[in-house]
Amino acid sequence: MSHLVETLGLASSLQLLSLSPPGWGANLLRGLVNSLQIAFGAFGFGLVIGLFGAYGKLYGGPVVRDLLAVYTTVIRAVPELVLILILYYIGTDLINQMAAALGYGRVEINGVVAGIWVLGIVQGAYATEILRGAILAVPPGQIEAARAYGMPPFMLMRRVTIPAMMSFAIPGLANLWLIATKDTALLAVVGFNELTLETKQAAGSTRAYFTFFLAAGAIYLAVTLISGVAFKRIERWARKGQPSLRSGGA
């Protein structure tokens, strides 16, 4: 192993990536933790918005439906980078104005919270459509059976609709999660220290661009691979009770 490292001239690269200074590995890992935190938060926030959005679109009154149509259309039409800039600056500005009105000084906005808020709103629009489609795919008879036995609406959603729609929603949600992990990189433009910005700083300071961006790419790939394994398990769980297509039935 050490022989291979020497012949390829990778020793200096590995040194740059080591976890203790002068290596920059720790910075990259800190960036990764920040990225994952935001991705998790935004994905979760997006799911909550998506669930309300989907129910609103399916069962809401005309006003709710129109508002949600505007939300999902606009968010999905505007490039995410532009949205992040708009939402980030509008959000921080609104909070500061509110703080000023209440007699406080300028508020320091927590980068993680801002990131979750901004990406969560973006994710929510996509999640709304994924979950709406999944709810529509639930056989109506199963929902009708629950109503026929006197299940109140909220219990029906919790006990029947959500578990039954899971298998339809999981593939779309898995996509959405992967997009969330990579969209965190866009937050670099508002100066948030996630993985991409940390990588850029490390690369800029050491002039070892190739090494650091390759390392960052490998980290993103690792996140995707691990997510793939996790979602495979979740999907198997969500599809319980459904015959596998591969084995052609029982």
Binding site: Q142, A148, Y149, M166
Partner: protein
């Protein structure tokens, strides 16, 4: 095995007690008037068979009883309780209809079992989560019910791995698990392969024999004649003829019923 004594007394017992009363029920889908004033009363222990051609409104009638369809007019009394409706037919009090529904065991044409739950989970779902029966007790009862419909071995199987007949028998067990005061059967054998119809009918026959109150929408004329205490023939949204099965099937008065019986025979 039968309904528990506590619930029997709660609804009032004894022959002649009214289970369901429908008065002047109307239902429109837009311009189309599917039910044009139907009245019927089912007393405790009655088996009322509702027959009629396709589009006669028989399924709609049954689905109006538990408000899966909202009536356009008329009155529905379940176990002596008048279900209050708004002008558009929706129940005024959601809680009232939800409570009434827990006494009505509905069996659907296409079974409608919850596919993400095993048979046992399907059967205990409503008792545990809607009626608040302790889980252990519900499971014990569910096992007895599944045994009764011949599905003991399949308790932990998911519906998708069973035949239509097995699914429908499980759906009947699910309906029985709520200890219903009235069973509603909406064409329970219409979606089944011919060789599977018998096993489902035999379960329903047993239920009729033990004196359960039932409204049964069916295409199985022989079966209706055998189990029903009262037969209603619906045509174009009104009751064209009704009476005891012998009279309706052997000596129909209405021309339309005569024709209908000839075509289905």
């Amino acid at each position: 095995m039968n309904s528990s004594p506590a619930r029997e007394t709660a609804s009032g017992t004894g022959a002649g007690t009214e289970a369901i009363r429908i008065e002047g029920l109307r239902k429109c889908f837009g311009e189309l008037e599917v039910l044009r004033g139907v009245s019927l009363t089912a007393h405790k222990g009655d088996v009322v068979a509702i027959i009629g051609g396709s589009g006669s409104g028989k399924s709609t009638l049954l689905r109006c009883v538990n408000f899966l369809e909202t009536p356009s007019g008329g009155r529905i009394v379940i176990n002596g309780e008048d279900i209050k409706m708004r002008a558009d037919g929706t129940p005024t009090h959601r809680k009232q209809i939800e409570k009434a529904r827990t006494r009505l065991g509905m069996v659907f044409q296409s079974f409608n079992l919850w596919t993400h739950r095993t048979l046992l989970e399907n059967v205990i779902e409503v008792p545990v989560h809607v009626l608040g029966v302790p889980r252990a007790e519900a499971i014990e009862r569910a096992r007895t019910l599944l045994a009764r419909v011949g599905l003991s071995e399949k308790a932990d199987t998911y519906p998708a791995f069973l035949s239509g007949g097995q699914q429908q028998r499980a759906a009947i067990a699910r309906a029985l698990a709520i200890e219903p005061s009235v069973m509603l059967f909406d064409e329970p054998t219409s979606a089944l392969d011919p060789e599977l119809v018998g096993e489902v009918l035999s379960v329903i026959r047993d239920l009729a024999a033990e004196g359960r109150t039932m409204l049964l929408v069916t295409h199985e004329m022989k079966f209706a004649r055998e189990v029903a205490s009262h037969v209603i023939y619906l045509h174009n949204g009104i009751i064209e003829e009704e009476g005891p099965p012998e009279a309706v099937f052997s000596a129909p008065k209405s021309e339309r019923l005569k024709q209908f019986l000839q075509t289905v025979a």
